[in-house]
Amino acid sequence: MSTAAVQQENKWWSGGKSPFNASYGKVMMWYFLMSDAFTFGAFLISYGTIRFSQNHWVDPNHVFNSFPFAGHANLPLAFVSLMTFILIASSVTMVLAVHEGHKMNKAGVEKFMLWTILGGICFLGCQAWEWTHLLTAQHEVLVDGKIELWNTTVAHNPFGPEVMFNGKVVATPGPIAFGSYFFEITGFHGFHVFSGIIINIVMYIKAKMNHFEQRGHYEMIEKAGLYWHFVDLVWVFVFLCFYLI
């Protein structure tokens, strides 16, 4: 019997059952994710507003062009692509965990939850490297007629328009908003990744302790999966706004 036919036969709003054929917990997780989507959307749109209000903005391919262990090689977009693939892969293992849950396959759920947790930890490690690199880098900046060496913080960054100084091309201080927006938005996202990892660890432990076997279903894994996919989805947009456009 197709779901479409069943949908038409049922009177969904007649009471006594969920009008969405979904449990309360799942619907509420969706609505929480909607609210979080607006929060992240507001942050990203405010970033866009400030960026549009400036005459000069940083070129992400100049800021984000390093790769771990590659020294000073110029590799724009390389490291962030790795981060994106790690998160997509961890999303796939999460879907596979939910899939195993539908088949009541405890071992399969445990295996894929472990891979998802590993993916999340790798992503956070990469983000930590990116932050450390920005905070400890030393770029030449022309400040008040002198060359100083600046890193990137929420208060300053060395990615302003380039000028000629003593026959050399050198940067000037960049828009202050860039640092705050970058660290704040990636930090807020990283915090979501971190809490998602904690939730996934709890899910793994519960699966291992037979909680879901006793309950008869793995729906909580599905709800944790919704949260994890949301985290991946936000990253797709952060990646777009900070690195691509």
Binding site: F20, R51, P76, I88, V95
Partner: protein, 144 residues
Amino acid sequence: MSSSLSSSEISFQPEHSDSTKPIWKTFWILSALTIGELIIGLFIYNIHKGENPNATLVLAFKGMVCILTLAKAYYIVAVFMHLGSEIRNLIMTILVPLFLFIWFIIAFLWDGNSWKNLRNRYNGVNAVQTEQSTPAAKEKGAKD
């Protein structure tokens, strides 16, 4: 053995196929979209490195990248998060409010752009003298 209904409010279990093929197919689609975005990103990088960056071409490439991102968002939400297989009304309660983003993005970017134009036009223009108008304002304020 498949899972039992998770709660009494659910009428029927959605059909679950045993195959993981749609999952892997979506993974390859997402990877292809991401690689496409990266290639276009590198095009933009090369244009900026050149002598005379063509602003319209850069804008066109950025537009393409946005469309690829929206496609990625569609696949993640519809397949990975399963929203595509849910009851139509649930899909609508999620999708329709998100249309607010269309106004949200246009309005705020327009605002930011307008700020830039106003600043560029009026920065450095002398501020209007306000001494003559202040006593009148003070009197008016005392009356209120």
